[in-house]
């Protein structure tokens, strides 16, 4: 272990030696080390969130054929810092009728629920917080805390818009949690473990994306919905409920919600990479050293984040009834089908060679996709036919004549 190859563990060992050298017990030294590593991880995540503000603004500008922030620093890189200074300097307005404690707790919890995810994110083969054996469920549990923070924010603001926005968001989030949890079962059963590190290691011949492309797609869609981003951003439909659940939040408290949202999107990009795209693995390149592996992971996560942004800035907002119907009548049945088919195919092909195994699973997914498209096609045709037979299309002036006989 040397400084150039693996600086993080080198420094950790050195610090541990230093602390025990001062006469501290080994347990205490380990706790202090853990605290230091936690603080570093969280500060890294926060710095990343600040950087993501810049990325987001630059990318959306490119999507919309603009330049984006370009005044402060090279390429406008210091723009988020200026934003933060502005947010910190803003007056913190608390509505007089708000439920003070819950109102103040909600943004903290919103950001903390995202930060908690970084405890299990494996950046490299030996850079990770903790390798839980229930990590996949831990992801769901942290999401539950996020949902809670939104309900708390909406309720404590004492504002009808906030409450409506919060309820819409929560209805949306909990609905899309079902396909997401169902799809999380797929990497679990393919890898035979729930630890994210184990799942990363299990993708050694083929990424799970190739074994279950539909699963990856459903995961991405439900992740976008979980995040409450466009096209599922009903929580902040400006024309209907103004800013949604964070309408009463000003200054840095709003900033926490915003940072939490961006970091959440990036983290989900990271989890997409871990669960379906091999995490820090990339054709053996990860063996060069932990820093290289971490870089690979971050690039993959950034790619996932970029796709989420791409969806956000391309799609228009969906109506709430459409959104819930899309989830319950399409995504959930599809996720259940994919799960069942993957389970059976996995068992049937278990003894065969890796090539046949991968190809079989891939073809099964393809068959499901084709069948789905055919069913949707037939259903759409049928619906158009019934609508045409029951309600003839209006001729010009017909509506007026009907109303004024």
């Amino acid at each position: 272990m040397n400084l150039l190859n693996d600086p993080i563990h080198f420094i950790a060992q050195w610090l541990q030696g230093l602390l025990t050298g001062w006469g501290l017990s080994l347990v205490l030294a380990k706790v202090i080390l853990a605290l230091i590593s936690i603080t570093v991880t969280i500060l890294f995540a926060m710095a990343l969130a600040i950087f993501l503000v810049w990325v987001e603004r630059k990318v959306v500008a490119r999507f919309q054929d603009r330049i984006g922030p370009n005044r402060i620093g090279p390429y406008g890189l210091f723009q988020p810092l200026a934003d933060i200074i502005k947010l910190i300097g803003k007056e913190d307005i608390t509505p007089a009728l708000a439920d003070k404690f819950v109102y103040n707790l909600a943004p903290v919890l919103a950001l903390a629920s995202v930060i908690l995810l970084w405890a299990i994110l494996p950046l490299a083969p030996n850079i990770y917080g903790v390798d839980l054996n229930v990590a996949v469920l831990y992801l769901v549990a942290a999401g539950a805390l996020g949902t809670l923070s939104i309900i708390m924010a909406g309720w404590a603001s004492n504002n009808k818009y906030a409450l409506l926005g919060a309820f819409r968001t929560v209805a949306n989030m909990i609905s899309y949690e079902i396909p997401m949890v169902l799809v999380l079962l797929i990497p679990t059963l393919l890898a035979g473990t729930m630890s994210v590190k184990g799942i990363t290691e299990a993708q050694s011949p083929t990424w799970f994306f190739f074994l279950s492309p539909l699963g990856a797609l459903i995961f991405l869609i439900s992740a976008v919905a979980e995040l409450g981003r466009s096209p599922f951003d009903l929580s902040e439909a400006e024309s209907e409920i103004v800013a949604g659940f964070h309408i009463e939040y000003t200054g840095m408290k709003f900033g926490l919600f915003y940072a939490g949202e961006l970091l959440h999107a990036f983290t989900f990009g990271g989890f997409t990479a871990v669960l379906f795209f091999g995490g820090y693995r990339f054709f053996g390149l990860e063996n060069l050293g932990p820093l290289v592996a971490a870089a690979i992971f971050l690039v993959k996560a950034m790619f996932g984040y970029w796709i989420i942004m791409w969806i956000k800035y391309t799609m228009p907002r969906i109506r709430i009834d459409h959104m819930l119907a899309f989830n319950w009548k399409f995504l959930t049945p599809l996720a259940l089908t994919v799960l069942m088919v993957t389970a059976v195919m996995e068992k049937l092909l278990a003894g065969t060679s890796p090539w046949i195994y991968s190809l079989g699973l891939f073809l099964a997914n393809l068959a499901i996709a084709l069948a789905t498209i055919e069913i949707l096609h037939a259903f759409g045709k049928w619906q158009r036919k019934t609508e045409a037979s029951t309600k003839p299309a209006l001729q010009a002036g017909q509506y007026y004549e009907e109303q004024n006989p």
């Binding site: 991880t41 969280i42 803003k90 004492n158 259940l336 068992k347």
Partner: protein
């Protein structure tokens, strides 16, 4: 394993403290001049009418209900999915039976028109 949970606990504590810091800092530097108009509920400049904690329509509850049942189901499937690789084929069929029983519930709710937002 307990060490892992200790780590998560520390992570939770630090993860709550770190977001509080900018709020405290902002409290120090930001101006504070509250008045009653500023602190009133923001509803686009129109005076607030009635209680803010309004009553909600029932479909929210239906979706929460279906979610609850399927969430429990999906969570219970995790031990099954975990062991699938190590056990024979009929285990997969058990899980599928488990799923299909619940799909009946989804179909029922669908047929009753409970999944419509009306």
């Amino acid at each position: 394993m307990q060490n892992g949970w200790l780590y998560i606990g520390l992570f939770l504590i630090v993860g709550i403290i770190v977001p509080i810091l900018p709020l405290l800092f902002s409290r120090l530097v930001a101006p504070r001049k509250p008045n009653s108009i500023k602190q009133s509920t923001y509803e686009c400049g129109i005076k607030t009418v009635g209680d803010s904690w309004v009553q909600f329509k029932a479909p929210y509850y239906v979706f929460a209900l279906v979610f609850l049942v399927f969430d429990v189901e999906a969570v219970l499937l995790f031990p099954w999915a975990l062991m699938l690789k190590r056990l024979p084929l009929f285990v997969a069929l058990e899980g599928i039976l488990f799923i299909l029983i619940l799909v009946a519930g989804l179909v029922y709710a669908w047929r009753k028109g409970m999944l419509e937002w009306l």
